[in-house]
Every structure is written in structure tokens, then in C-alpha cells.
Amino acid sequence: MKIRASLIAFLFCALATPSVLAQADAEFAKATQEYAQGHFKEAISGYEALIRSGQWSANVFYDLGNAYFRTGDLGRAILNYERALALERHHPEATANLQIARDEARALEIQPSWPERYLQFTSVNQYSIAAATAFWLAIFAVVTLIFSRRRSVTVIAMLICCLLVFAVAVCAIYTLDRGSKGRAVAIVTGENVQARLATADTANAVLALPPGSEIKILSTRGDWIYAALPNNLRGWIPAKNAEQVRL
């Protein structure tokens, strides 16, 4: 009975997946066509529907960013370019358009710390693979050392190297994940946003944040978020005025 149910489910998935993909392709093509015709709001609706259905890809976010740019919503344009780059670090078109949008919006950026600058040459995913590989090689080296009668210098050297690589990779993952491009990074999407000293509209302003400015969410309290701001400042901003890059 169970086998039959599993088979049915598998067959259903196998049959349904191509149709879902075909539908997503059609939606994407339609949104792209709307954009080409200058119907940017319709294009935005199309791309966002695609994103809501979980069909995330760097190109979809990039195209959505372009559509927002055309409507003058530079904050959301920058947000979507950032999302495209979060999915694909080396997306040349997103990088170029992000720079243009930032210049246009005069958006502020959080400066990465010096370890982050050095560690940014590869991604968190690649560091994860390096850490896992180094970890297992180190375990294999330890097992070899335990069962061999003589302590091989080569194996010991390999063990030390693997442990070093593992440690560096773990540190890099930690630094990048909590850094200026980490998971807590958000983009200011509202206009005339002021970071304030307290969770009140009347509190003293810390920094004016043009749309598209980067912030790093530190904590959330009700409708306010406490964030690290550019220029090493910190302040509260209304939660509705910023969106996290990583969904």
C-alpha cells in the first residue's frame, strides 16, 4: 500500500515538474516582453509573481531591478541587484547596474572590515566546501596516524595543513556571514529615511539614509529595527523602510 502511494507521488512529481517549469518560463517571458514594451509596472508584477513562487535566479532579480530602476524606485532597484549578486557573485550586468543605481541614488554603503576585504575573494559556499574537505582529510590523516606503526611526517604535515585550512575556512564563513554582505544586510527602500536614536519619529536623527543605502540589522523591536549604519553609526529605522537582501 505504502509502495503504491510513494509511486503515485513520484509519478505526480515527475509529471508536474515540467509543467511548473514551463509555466515559470512563460511568466518570465511575458514579464520580459512587458519590460521591452515599456510597461514597467506590469513587468514588476510578473517578475515578483515569479519570485513569490520560489523561482529565484540571479537573472530574475536583475531584470526586476532594471524594472524598478525604470520606474524611478532606486531603493528597490538596488535591493534586487544586490539579491542577484547574492545568488551569483560574479554577475557582471548586476554589478554594473548596481553601480549606476547607487551613483544615481547617492546610496551609502557599509565599509567592509579588513578581514572581510581579504576573505571576499571567494564565497561562503566555496569556503564551506573547503572546510568540509579539509575536515575529512584531517580525520583520515588522524585515522592513518592511529593505525600506523610509524608516525609519518608527511601525514602529520598534511594533518596540520588540513586543520589550518579548516580553521581559516570556518573563520571566513563566520566573518562573511556576519559581515557587510552577510545575511543581516538590508537595503533602505523608503524615501527620506532617517536613522534615529530611539524608536520614535520624534527622536534625534543619527543619519539620513538615501534609498538604496546598506544597513545591517542588529535587532528588531516591534515596527523598528536597530541597525548598523554606514560611517560606523547605529540607529533605529522603521522596519517598513528596509528589506533584507537574503530572502
Binding site: 517549469l21 515559470a24 518560463d25 518570465f28 517571458a29 520580459t32 519590460y35 521591452a36 520560489g54 523561482q55 529565484w56 535566479s57 540571479a58 537573472n59 530574475v60 536583475y62 531584470d63 532594471n66 530602476f69 539579491r83 547574492a86 545568488l87 551569483e88 550586468e93 554594473a96 547596474n97 549606476i100 543605481a101 551613483d103 544615481e104 547617492r106 551609502l108 561562503v124 559556499n125 564551506s128 566546501i129 572546510a131 568540509a132 575529512w136 580525520i139 583520515f140 585515522v143 592513518t144 592511529i146 593505525f147 564563513i173 556571514d177 545575511r183 532617517q194 536623527a205 543619527v206 543619519l207 539620513a208 560611517n231 553609526l233 537582501v245 537574503r246 530572502l247
Partner: protein, 615 residues
């Protein structure tokens, strides 16, 4: 050893902190910028940075008597950054009334020549204290509820001030030390129409007034009037508990006891408190109020006036000095001096054209207890929209109550290099400055055409991507099963290998042991021929098995040919070996031998040599 190491690390950290500490700086403040003839004022010159400062030995100002009174040193460690400062104290005694300028003094610190700001001291001719409640000042002096045992006085150095101007105020409370006072309510300045800052206790001293000793506690604060008019400041009120002699049922007479009834100090209680019990009583201490006239500020304040009143100087700096168009430049402006710093706002940018300005941040470092004197530093971020040669001029306006006029400070232009973008052409600037139309002058012209974004991408990958980092995904951890299984297999194989190796080692050890035992027997020369040849052939078999190594030959199946091949013997040795095996077999299986019943020593030696040469 460990302690020395820790001390070394600490010293290194402190040294590193010192290395990164700020460069030396100097400030100078007066404890009061208003005083009267004969009333001393304190001058403090504070040098922050290296400790090898050389303060001015003599400060001479005509009409003022200035003496150095000592120095104090402060040392701070904050976040591993160390800073030290030395404060040099001077006492100024005004000899005549007038407005005195204490000139800028040169202090050598850290190999640099630093200069203090100029200070202004206004000396009034009138008897300075507006109100006095000191016992020495006769009838007007005090309203003290416990007679001459305690007093309070409110000292306001100015009689005329402006709305919003900070007026320093001093409160002195004196107690006869014998009443052992305990303050239960701190002094409070009563009155309306002004705001007072928090009282700060600034010192305690012993003074003799009219021949009586007093412990005098001094408090400092500052007041600012909220509106114009004539005000009464004070009185200052406080409550304290003091010990006084018990009241007697009968009035004291003068003669029998020999002390004065009108003078509480003449009571024997004070000369010997244990001889007669005193009682603790709560008393209210009250000073006389002080009249203060507040004048309104003059009209036509400059546009950059934000309510600052006092005497200030401004220094500015810009970092970095070489940027690209659009990059931020931090403009730091430090406002130092004396006045109402809470109303000192960031200096305004006079010409914002071609600049994008962000809201400034500020911090205040006070040089005295009440925050009248200090330095307020503003950081304003500007980003150039076009090429520029210098940062814009900053302006700060304040009202100088001494000069009775508004003063506007302007920063010096700081040269910078802005690269990239289009240069702001001279023509545009000229036309803007020459144009009578305010619209042209105000609206900044865009010199750059906005760049257009790149094309739309029309391809989409078949599989959806994820923002989740790889290490948070199930597939990553599932994939770790592969090396885990490989590890289990590898460890199993290694364990099996070790066991096999151990078995082989035991076998070899047994063979070696048996060989050794048999060799001992053969050398003892006590065995019968049958035993001797059997043991000799057995040794040959064992040696062959040991020599076979990885091929693991069973010693029981070794024959003469196998042994000879294993040891690669020559023909003679091979024949000898064959004969040994034959004789062994004969003795073993036939039960008798064709030869003699004993073995000759030559035969034994030959056999032993043959066996020992098997290597």
C-alpha cells in the same frame, strides 16, 4: 616567568596604545571669566599627550598677579589606548578693574610647540559678591537658622546677562566643624525664569572667618535665563542635621559659669562634648537672593546663529583630501571656548552647490565641572557631485556678551583633490555668481549625464537558486555521509590490516624463539645423532620459513631444495644441505643409521657452520 610574560604583554599593549594615542594638544580655561578686584580666579592649562610638557614659567599681564600653584597628572587607559594629561594650575589675582586678555601661551610638548587660546577676564570694580551670607559680612550677611554655626552664600559674578547666556554660579556652605553637620537635603537654587544645571561639588576647605573655623563646601553650577527682565536668583536652601547643646530648663547666667550666653561657641559642650550630651537637630540653611538683570539679544542675528552665546574659536579639518566624485569627505569642525554649548549647533555650509551634505554628528568634551567650557566637535559628511578644489566654507555665528555683538566664525578653505566626473566649469560658476537671478544661483547644475543601465536578460536557469548558505542546506550535510562511509570503510580496513600484521608478528616470533632454542641444543653437543640431525634439519626449515618473508612458507613443508633456493646456496653448500636432510630422514624413519652411533666433532662443526651461514 609567567608573570613576567604577562607584564611584558601588558607593557606592549600599553606601549602600542600609547603609540596610537592622539598627538599632543593643549587647552586653557579660566574657572570664571568674570570676577572682581581682589577675588582670585583659577587658570588651568591642560596638556594632553606626552608627559614632557614645558609649561610657561611666568605669565605676566598688567593688572593681574598670576602665580603658578602646582600641577596634577591624569592617566587613562581606555580600550587599550592610553592617554595622559598634565594640568598646570595658576592663581590670578586682579589688582584693578577692566577687561584683561591673557595672551596665548606657548607650551612645548612632545617636541612640538603648542599654543593655548587667548582668554578674556572681566574684572569688576564693585565688591564682587552680589550676595553674601558670610558671618564676616555683618548684618547683611546671612539668614542662618542656627546662628553662627553655619552659613550659605550664593555667588553670582554677573549682575547683567543676556537671555540664554550661561552664568556660572557658586554656592558656598560653611559649617562649624564642632556641630558635626550631616547634609540631608542638598542645596537648591530657588527662583523662576531661569534654568539651572546640575550642582557639582567642586571642593571642600577649612577657613577661618571672624576668628572662627568653618568647613566650607563649594558647589558650582550654571544658570541661563529663559526671558528678559529682572530676576531674583535664589535664595539657596538646604537642610542639614547638626549637633547642638541641650536646652537648659533655667536660663543661663553669665557669671557663675564664665561663658557668654549670646555665643553658642562659648557653651562648655563644645569644649568637652562628652561632659554634657548634645542633641541632633534639623536646621534649614538659607542664603540671600541675588538680583540679576537679563537683557534680550539684539535683533538682526546672522542666519547661521543658533542661539550660541559666549566666546568661541573654530578649527576645521577634512579627511580624506583626495577623493573621487561621489566619495564621502568627513569635515571635522571643533568649536572650543566658553558658553552655552547646548545651543552650539554644527557650523553651516555656506555654499552647498556641487555638494551633497549628510546630517552631522557631534560630541562634547567639557573642560570644567559644569560644562561651560570645553570643545564640541562636529563631523559632517559631504560628497562632491563634481570636481572641486576645496571644501566649502563653514560658518558659525554666536553672540559675544562681552563685545555685546554677534560674531561669525568662518573656516579657512581646505584644498582637496576630486577626481572623476566632469569639472565644474569656470563659466558656470561665473555665470552663477554674476547672475542676479536667485533661481540660477541656488539650483545646482548637473554636469554629468546620468548613465543608462544595461539590457534585460532573457534566459533563466531551469533550477531555482537559494540564498541559504551551502552549510545550512540539507544536501550539504547529506553529502557528508559519503566521506563518513569512506572513513568507516578505511578504519575497518586499517583495523583488519593491523590484526593480520599482529598474527604474522606472533608467528615470526614463535619461529625465531624455536630456532634459538634449537641452536642452543645443537651447540650443547649432548644430543644423540637422531635428535641432532632432526633438530638441525628443523632449524634449517625454520630459518627458511623466516627468510621466506611475505611468501609465508610453512616450515613443515620445507625440503633441502627449497631451503637451498631460498638462501641461494652454492653447489657445495647445497650438497651439504641435502646430506643433512638425508641423514635426518634416515635417523628419523629407519630407526638405525649406517654410520657410527655418535657424531664426530668435525661433523657437528660442519653442520653448525652450514646452519649459521644460512642468512
Amino acid at each position: 616567568m609567567g608573570r613576567a610574560f604577562l607584564t611584558g604583554i601588558l607593557a606592549a599593549i600599553v606601549a602600542a596604545g600609547s603609540t596610537f594615542a592622539d598627538s599632543p594638544s593643549v587647552t586653557a580655561v579660566l574657572s570664571n571669566s568674570e570676577t572682581v578686584v581682589g577675588e582670585t580666579v583659577e587658570l588651568q592649562i591642560k596638556v594632553t599627550g606626552p608627559g614632557d610638557a614645558q609649561p610657561p614659567e611666568e605669565i605676566s599681564v598688567d593688572g593681574l598677579e598670576i602665580h603658578a600653584t602646582g600641577q596634577s597628572r591624569q592617566f587613562e587607559i581606555h580600550n587599550f589606548a592610553t592617554s595622559s594629561s598634565v594640568t598646570y594650575n595658576y592663581t590670578i589675582l586682579p589688582l584693578r578693574a577692566g577687561r584683561f586678555t591673557i595672551p596665548s601661551q606657548t607650551v612645548r610638548a612632545g617636541g612640538k610647540l603648542l599654543r593655548t587660546p587667548e582668554l578674556i577676564l572681566n574684572v569688576a570694580d564693585a565688591p564682587g559678591r552680589s550676595s553674601s551670607a558670610r558671618p564676616s559680612r555683618g548684618t547683611q550677611s546671612q539668614s542662618v537658622s542656627a546662628g553662627d554655626l553655619l552659613f550659605a552664600e550664593l555667588i553670582v559674578p554677573k549682575k547683567v546677562a543676556y537671555v540664554g547666556e550661561i552664568v556660572p554660579v557658586q554656592i558656598r556652605m560653611g559649617f562649624d566643624p564642632r556641630v558635626r553637620p550631616r547634609l540631608i537635603e542638598p542645596p537648591e537654587i530657588t527662583g523662576q525664569g531661569f534654568t539651572a544645571q546640575k550642582l557639582q561639588q567642586s571642593g571642600q576647605s577649612s577657613e577661618t572667618i571672624n576668628g572662627r573655623p568653618y568647613d566650607v563646601v563649594t558647589y558650582k553650577t550654571a544658570i541661563a535665563a529663559a526671558r528678559a527682565g529682572k530676576f531674583e536668583i535664589g535664595p539657596v536652601k538646604a537642610k542639614a542635621q547638626v549637633i547642638v547643646p541641650r536646652r537648659r530648663s533655667a536660663p543661663r547666667s553669665r557669671s557663675p559659669f564664665g561663658f557668654d550666653l549670646d555665643d553658642p561657641f562659648s557653651d562648655p559642650f563644645f569644649s568637652n562634648p562628652f561632659a554634657q550630651m548634645g542633641e541632633r537637630r534639623e536646621v534649614e540653611i538659607k542664603s540671600e537672593p541675588v538680583a540679576l538683570e537679563i537683557k534680550p539679544l539684539p535683533p538682526n542675528a546672522p542666519p547661521s546663529f543658533s542661539g550660541a552665546i559666549g566666546n568661541f574659536v573654530m578649527t576645521t579639518d577634512a579627511q580624506p583630501k583626495s577623493v573621487q566624485v561621489g566619495d564621502p569627505i568627513t569635515l571635522t569642525s571643533a568649536i572650543s571656548g566658553r558658553g552655552n554649548f547646548d545651543r552650539v549647533n554644527a557650523p553651516v555650509v555656506e555654499d552647498e552647490r556641487g555638494w551633497h551634505k549628510y546630517p552631522p554628528s557631534s560630541k562634547f568634551k567639557q573642560d570644567d565641572e559644569v560644562g561651560i567650557s570645553g570643545t564640541k566637535t562636529f563631523e559632517t559628511v559631504l560628497s562632491p557631485n563634481e570636481k572641486k578644489q576645496s571644501v566649502p566654507v563653514l560658518a558659525l555665528s554666536y553672540f559675544d556678551p562681552a563685545k555685546e555683538q554677534y560674531v561669525t566664525l568662518r573656516s579657512e578653505p581646505i584644498a582637496i583633490t576630486v577626481q572623476g566626473g566632469a569639472a565644474a566649469t569656470q563659466n558656470v560658476t561665473a555665470s552663477q555668481s554674476a547672475s542676479p537671478s536667485p533661481a540660477i544661483a541656488v539650483a545646482p547644475q548637473r554636469t554629468q549625464k546620468p548613465q543608462d543601465i544595461l539590457y534585460q536578460l532573457t534566459d533563466r536557469p531551469a533550477t531555482a537558486e537559494s540564498f541559504a548558505p551551502l552549510y545550512t542546506r540539507t544536501v550539504f550535510w547529506t553529502a557528508q555521509l559519503i566521506p563518513l562511509l569512506a572513513l568507516i570503510g578505511f578504519a575497518g580496513w586499517k583495523i583488519r590490516q593491523t590484526r593480520i600484521d599482529n598474527r604474522e608478528a606472533r608467528r615470526i616470533a614463535a619461529l625465531q624463539h624455536e630456532t634459538s632454542e634449537l641452536m642452543h641444543k645443537l651447540r650443547r653437543n649432548a644430543a644423540s645423532p637422531r635428535e641432532y640431525y632432526a633438530e638441525a634439519s628443523r632449524v634449517v626449515r625454520l630459518k627458511t620459513a623466516l627468510a621466506s618473508g611475505s611468501s609465508r612458507i610453512d616450515p613443515n613443508v620445507v625440503d633441502a631444495e627449497t631451503a637451498a633456493d631460498t638462501f641461494k646456496l652454492n653447489t657445495d653448500s647445497r650438497d651439504q644441505l641435502r646430506r643433512l636432510f638425508e641423514q635426518s630422514d634416515e635417523w628419523q624413519y629407519s630407526g638405525a643409521h649406517n654410520g657410527p652411533a655418535t657424531i664426530s666433532p668435525e661433523n657437528r662443526r660442519e653442520v653448525l657452520e652450514l646452519i649459521e651461514n644460512l642468512k
